[in-house]
């Protein structure tokens, strides 16, 4: 049984993007979209039974398209979404070079990150989704995976802003407890929706979609002062027209600041006073939405109110979570993996 070679993988299952880092050196990221052809015709045209990631997004008119995660969790109660998560996970493992349905040569040991405040229910959904895809599974809080990957396990605050959730976590040299971490739902998606609403109010005659707005945000998000005006093109009565959305962009991006700053202060106040200074000097910003221009300096300015601090953006925000997961997977002792089989527990050993 243990003659099979072990392949360790770290997976960051994200609302918008999911990434995998594997011990064979493979690293991949896909957009978290899964689609099934709507009918026979679509299946004939697409020549596939399921499409994943950008490909699914591009063919969405012919697909029953699912974005199976919401606020970083598997949508509850929808079997289609559960199936979609399985397809997504299977696809990621395939990208890493192993066929999950034929694991005779490889034993797959996976670490999957979930939002900081995910409940047991949510974690169990992930376990269920991983059955038949990995042999062994460890579920970790996503900011913990980030911290582990960065080796920032003591006196660090990790702010991981994704699409579905913002996870804030203070590392105190222990597994984060309820007192050490917060999950906010103000994140990339809430910015998109906010921006979408603002643009529609300001330019009611322009036809814009949430997808377009999401693209604009990924290009031009900022807080504070813009480097240059944010100009985009959208059809007005069918005619492509330039729109200035600078003010809307700022307003939508800055809307995440109040809850973020409040939670940051709240978590800081729960740190032993002796170490608060060190934590403030060691704030790490990660996640796709963490790349909003000007966010780091803005948070530093907010930190002035409590004595000042330093905020830095991680070098590789796309893979920092899955890399951290991989590091955990590789460091976990061999014997422990045996206890973490994805099989149903009653089968025993």
């Amino acid at each position: 049984m243990s003659e099979r070679q072990a392949l360790h993988v770290g997976i960051d299952l994200g609302t918008s993007r999911s990434s995998i880092s594997a011990s064979n050196g493979q690293r991949h990221v896909v957009e978290s979209y899964v689609g099934w052809p709507l009918d026979m015709v679509a299946r004939k045209v697409l020549k596939k039974s399921v499409l994943i990631g950008r490909e699914a997004l591009e063919q969405r008119t012919m697909l029953d398209l699912h974005r199976p995660l919401e606020e970083g969790l598997i949508k509850d109660g929808s079997e289609k979404d559960e199936a979609a998560v399985r397809e997504l996970l299977r696809h990621l493992v395939q990208l890493a070079g192993v066929d999950p349905s034929d694991r005779s040569d490889f034993q797959i040991r996976a670490v999957v990150g979930v939002p900081a405040e995910a409940l047991r229910v949510n974690k169990q959904q992930v376990r269920k989704a991983m059955q038949g895809i990995a042999d062994n599974l460890l579920i970790v809080s996503e900011p913990f995976a980030v911290a582990y990957g960065l080796e920032e396990l003591l006196h660090t605050m990790i702010i991981d802003i994704g699409a579905g959730t913002t996870d804030i976590c203070v590392m105190k040299g222990r597994l984060p407890t309820e007192d050490d971490q917060r999950t906010l739902t103000q994140a990339g998606d809430s910015i998109d929706e906010h921006l979408f609403r603002l643009i529609r109010e300001r330019h009611p005659q322009a036809s814009v979609s949430l997808h377009m707005v999401r693209g604009w945000k990924e290009e031009g998000s900022f807080v504070g002062e813009p480097l240059s005006p944010i100009l985009v093109t959208a059809p007005v009565a069918g005619k492509p027209t330039r729109l200035d959305i600078t003010a809307e962009m700022r307003q939508a991006c800055e809307a995440i600041l109040p809850p973020l700053v409040e939670s940051m202060f709240d978590l800081l106040s729960r740190v032993d006073p002796e170490y608060q200074e060190r934590v403030r000097q060691n704030v790490v910003l990660s996640g796709g939405t963490g790349l909003i221009r000007g966010l780091g300096p803005r948070l530093e300015r907010e930190l002035q109110a409590v004595g000042g601090g330093k905020v830095r953006v991680v070098r590789d925000p796309i893979y920092v979570g899955s890399d951290g997961g991989l590091a955990i997977a590789q460091d976990a002792p061999e014997g422990d993996w045996e206890k973490l089989s994805t099989d149903e527990p009653k089968r025993g050993k």
């Binding site: 047991r120 599974l137 970790v140 739902t185 106040s269 206890k339």
Partner: protein, 345 residues
């Protein structure tokens, strides 16, 4: 470097332990659990019905007086003209055939929380010397709790969203129809003398404290129930297995409130007032706890009769602090309910 490695080893060990627990607690089916849970607990409740009927009629006799003075005529007419509560009567057939309960349906229980901001509209509740109304503060705190719980991926149902009067009967109906898993009513206390600062949390039960009867009578005004309805409700409720859950929820919330409020952060000056008292978890016949069908508590989160408290309550930060404590209490209960599946009753 060596230190980091030791630290990593310890963290990994903790992480593995946490996950091993998760594996052990994995129920066979994770879908459609809520519906089964409901059926399970109501059957359990039915099994206890005969015992509880006996007990409740005795225990409750003294408590009933001040809550709803008996008005013979109207009570009788209600009985012959059954109201909405009649529909909740238990069909005999279900009583006859209790099915065994699969303990694995009990975990993963808490998803939707009903938050009930006390009073509202013309029913202002208690009032501080400064002119602060209970109804306004309870609504503000409730909104904060809602945000916090929603952030923690609970669903929240509010019994009122604005400043209007909602009868207790209506509040219970809202929570019941939304199929809430928990009910948390938020109130402020008024204790004569003005010296006492304190929190207390109630779940439904009899009391022989006349002071509590008075408080219950106060909170039970504008109920929309007649005496006959009330008796029937009580009999049903006492039978329920939810009593024990309600007690545990009350303990969780009260503990969280007291722990948070007894050591306020330094930016919330208590202006040398008296220490906050944990008046504890108590039982009382609050109507809104009677007619709700899920574990239900009523939290008196502060005392408007106390000057320090009345002053603190004007500060958003203090209201946020209370809201966080309430939300934490709910979360802790939810986590415990998930990880201790066998404690059905």
């Amino acid at each position: 470097m060596a230190r980091v490695d030791r630290l990593k080893q310890r963290l990994l060990r903790e992480l593995v332990e946490q996950n091993v627990e998760l594996v052990a607690g994995l129920p066979r089916k994770t879908l459609k659990r809520r519906r089964r849970l409901r059926l399970g607990s109501s059957l359990l409740g039915l099994a206890l019905l005969p015992v509880a009927l006996l007990a409740s009629s005795r225990l409750f006799a003294p408590a009933l007086g001040p809550v709803a003075p008996p008005v013979d005529g109207s009570a009788a007419s209600r009985v012959s003209n059954p109201g909405r509560t009649e529909g909740r009567e238990i069909p005999e057939a279900r009583l006859a055939a209790p099915r065994p309960i699969d303990p694995s349906v009990f975990p993963l229980a808490v998803r939707r929380i009903a938050i009930d901001p006390g009073h509202g509209g013309a029913a202002v509740g208690t009032r501080a010397a400064s002119g602060l109304y209970e109804k306004d503060i309870t609504l503000d705190i409730a909104r904060r709790v809602r945000r916090l719980l929603e952030e923690a991926s609970f669903e929240v149902v509010m019994t009122r969203e604005e400043d209007r009067a909602v009868s207790l009967r209506e509040r219970a109906r809202i929570a019941n129809e939304a199929q809430s898993d928990l009910f948390v009513s938020i109130h402020l206390n008024w204790i004569a003398g003005g010296n006492t600062r304190g929190v207390e949390t109630y779940y439904l039960g009899p009391t022989d404290d006349p002071e509590l009867d008075r408080l219950a009578a106060l909170e039970n005004r504008d109920s929309g129930y007649a005496v006959a309805d009330f008796r029937r409700l009580l009999d049903q409720v006492y039978a329920g297995a939810r009593l024990d859950s309600s007690r545990r929820l009350a303990e969780s919330i009260d503990g969280s409130l007291f722990r948070s409020l007894s050591r306020l952060p330094s930016h919330l000056p208590t202006s040398g007032g008296s220490e906050i008292a944990d008046r504890g978890v108590k039982t009382a016949p609050f109507l809104v706890l009677v007619s709700t069908e899920m574990p239900a508590v009523l939290a008196e989160v502060s005392c408007l009769s106390n000057e320090t408290e009345a002053e603190l309550l004007t500060k958003p930060l203090y209201r946020q602090y209370i809201a966080e404590a309430l939300a934490r209490g709910v979360r802790r209960y939810a986590l415990a309910a998930e990880s201790a599946p066998e404690k059905g009753t």
